[in-house]
């Protein structure tokens, strides 16, 4: 459904994304992961036709995004990081406008159906300016769905939502995917990816560092997390020197994450005990994989 070949975007002196290559099949839910500024949003904006690329190709449903943008935009629903809402309009008027410019069939009926589907009935007649963040986000999602797109690109759809609303959005996305809609979403919330994405593409500094199913990614090697009283250079040096250790990085909660190809727990314990070893734990799944892949920048 989506094919990206050698896609590059350069802003002045900075390269936002560097020769990206990936393919997404119809009906897949793919999670984009990566630290802030890794190029996730840039890639999504390009696929949605909101931004041009410096070089490379992007095809949606076999149609070139740069050659036939109108055709692609009719197939794609896009929710940017900040939902694009005309706050001086009511929810209903706004969605009707979106339906018309996006070329939806039977705009009025479609908007009413959508208002029911994403739970906007109680606020449909209100000005968007007066809505809570959760409702605004829903209007943003409704805006992306209004022309019944085959591809949905959601840039952090769950940001600013409370846990219950997150679950709702998750269910909505899963429902859509069952209806053969292809979904790309980016998020910082790793459990969310684990809950709904069949595949994960990890981007760091403009390049893809991993693209695989979650099971495959989590199975890749093992990692150990330790907490020590006195983490210093010596400790890191000692850990790196252990046979089988592939990477050592500090995590954001003050622990040290050690990636290894074999079981190195005993050796790690031995090396760390002199630095005041407090805790030693096993793999925490996707989060560790993510930290390793992106060099602990999260």
């Amino acid at each position: 459904m989506i094919q990206v070949e050698n896609l590059t975007k350069v802003y002045g002196a900075t390269t936002a994304i560097d020769a990206l290559d990936f393919t997404i099949e119809k009906g897949e839910i793919v999670g984009f992961l990566g630290p802030n500024g890794a190029g996730k949003s840039t890639t999504m904006r390009i696929l949605a036709g909101a931004l041009g690329a410096t070089s490379g190709r992007a095809l949606v449903g076999g149609v070139d995004v740069f050659r036939e943008p109108k055709k692609v935009k009719r197939m794609v629903g896009y929710l940017p990081e900040r939902p694009p809402l005309y706050v001086d309009m009511t929810v209903r008027d706004f969605l009707r406008f979106c339906a018309r410019v996006k070329g939806a069939e039977a705009p009025r009926e479609q908007v009413e159906r959508l208002i029911g589907r994403v739970g906007l009935e109680p606020v449909a007649h209100r000005l968007i300016d007066h809505l809570s963040k959760g409702y605004r986000q829903r209007v943003g999602i409704a805006q992306a769905l209004v022309h019944q797109p085959q591809v949905l690109i959601l840039d952090e759809p769950a940001s600013g939502l409370d846990p219950a609303q997150r679950v709702e959005i998750r269910q909505l996305v899963q429902e859509l995917a069952q209806g053969e809609v292809t979904v790309i979403l980016s998020t910082h919330v790793l459990p969310e990816v684990e809950a709904i994405c069949g595949r994960v593409i990890v981007i760091d500094r403009g390049s893809i560092v991993a693209s695989d199913s979650l099971e495959a990614l989590s199975a890749e090697g093992t990692s150990i997390r330790i907490r020590v009283a006195r983490p210093d250079e010596k400790l890191f040096a000692a850990l790196v020197a252990i046979e089988g250790v592939t990477a050592v990085s500090p995590s954001d909660d003050g622990r040290v994450v050690i990636a290894a190809s074999t079981d190195v727990r005993e050796a790690v314990a031995h090396a760390a005990v002199g630095h005041g070893l407090l805790e030693l734990g096993g793999n925490r799944g996707l989060e560790d994989v993510y930290l390793q892949l992106t060099g602990g920048a999260a």
Partner: protein
């Protein structure tokens, strides 16, 4: 169709903001004051020439009331139009709503044209809101229709040119005040440019706004004047289009 959807939303958005109503109120107030004062002074002049049939014949409503009134309207529009054009794109950038249009199946040309027509629609509302002034004269006299038509056409053409220019400035910044100040400075420059012109053939008189309006406000339509305003507007519409396209690809 897309153009009309965008234009209609734009026009409604202007009336959803206080600026839209404020500009309309300001426009009606200032033009209303001008009209009342000018009618009063016309009445006084008429009393002076009551016993002089030749002077009375010279003192027509067209030359001494309607035409100067339209002349004053150009100055009011000059001050108000930057306030209309400033929000067109700057507001979209600031509110991050431009992504919606960029990711919708509409071309850049449709976006530019839609927004422009929406703003022009607002100016039509402003102009229509003043037609009762000359119509009120019908109780006493019948003003020449050509002068009225020429006057309104002149105001509309001038507005369409200045709005297009203001729209370019709005597309350059996400700060509405900056867009307004730039548009006002440029409009004023074009307004006063010919004041130093020695002859009507001076380059400055050819570029400036007023020399192209004087004949029209007297009811005399000239192809060259109309061409000037149309080309003026087209140039800035095109420039806005190029600015948005380059922004998307840079």
């Amino acid at each position: 169709m897309n153009v009309l959807h965008i234009a209609w939303r734009e026009l409604r958005a202007i009336f959803h903001t206080s600026v839209g109503w404020l500009v309309l109120a300001g426009w009606l107030f200032v033009t209303g004051v001008f009209w009342v004062f000018m009618v009063q002074s016309y009445v006084l002049q008429s009393q002076d020439v009551v016993f002089n049939p030749y002077a009375a014949a010279q003192l027509t409503v067209e030359d001494y009331l309607i035409e100067p009134f339209f002349g004053n309207c150009t100055i009011v529009l000059l001050m108000l139009l930057p306030g209309v054009s400033m929000r067109l794109f700057a507001e979209e950038y600031r509110q991050h709503t431009f992504e919606l249009l960029l990711s919708s199946p509409v071309s850049t040309a449709e976006i530019v044209l839609g927004k422009y027509l929406g703003a022009l629609g607002y100016v039509v509302v402003l102009l229509l809101a003043t037609v009762h002034y000359p119509l009120a004269l019908l109780q006493w006299t019948t003003p020449e229709a050509g002068v009225l038509a020429g006057g309104y056409l002149g105001l509309l053409l001038m507005s369409s040119a200045l709005l297009a220019m203001g729209m370019l400035f709005s597309s350059l910044t996400s700060n509405q005040i900056v867009a307004m100040v730039l548009a006002f400075a440029a409009s004023l420059t074009l307004f006063v440019l010919d004041w130093g012109a020695a002859t009507p053939d001076d380059w400055s008189a050819k570029v400036a706004l007023m020399p192209h309006l004087t004949d029209m406000l007297q009811g005399a339509l000239k192809v060259s004047d109309i061409t000037y305003f149309v080309c003026f507007a087209l140039f800035f519409l095109f420039a806005t289009h190029q600015r948005l396209e380059s922004h998307r690809w840079s």
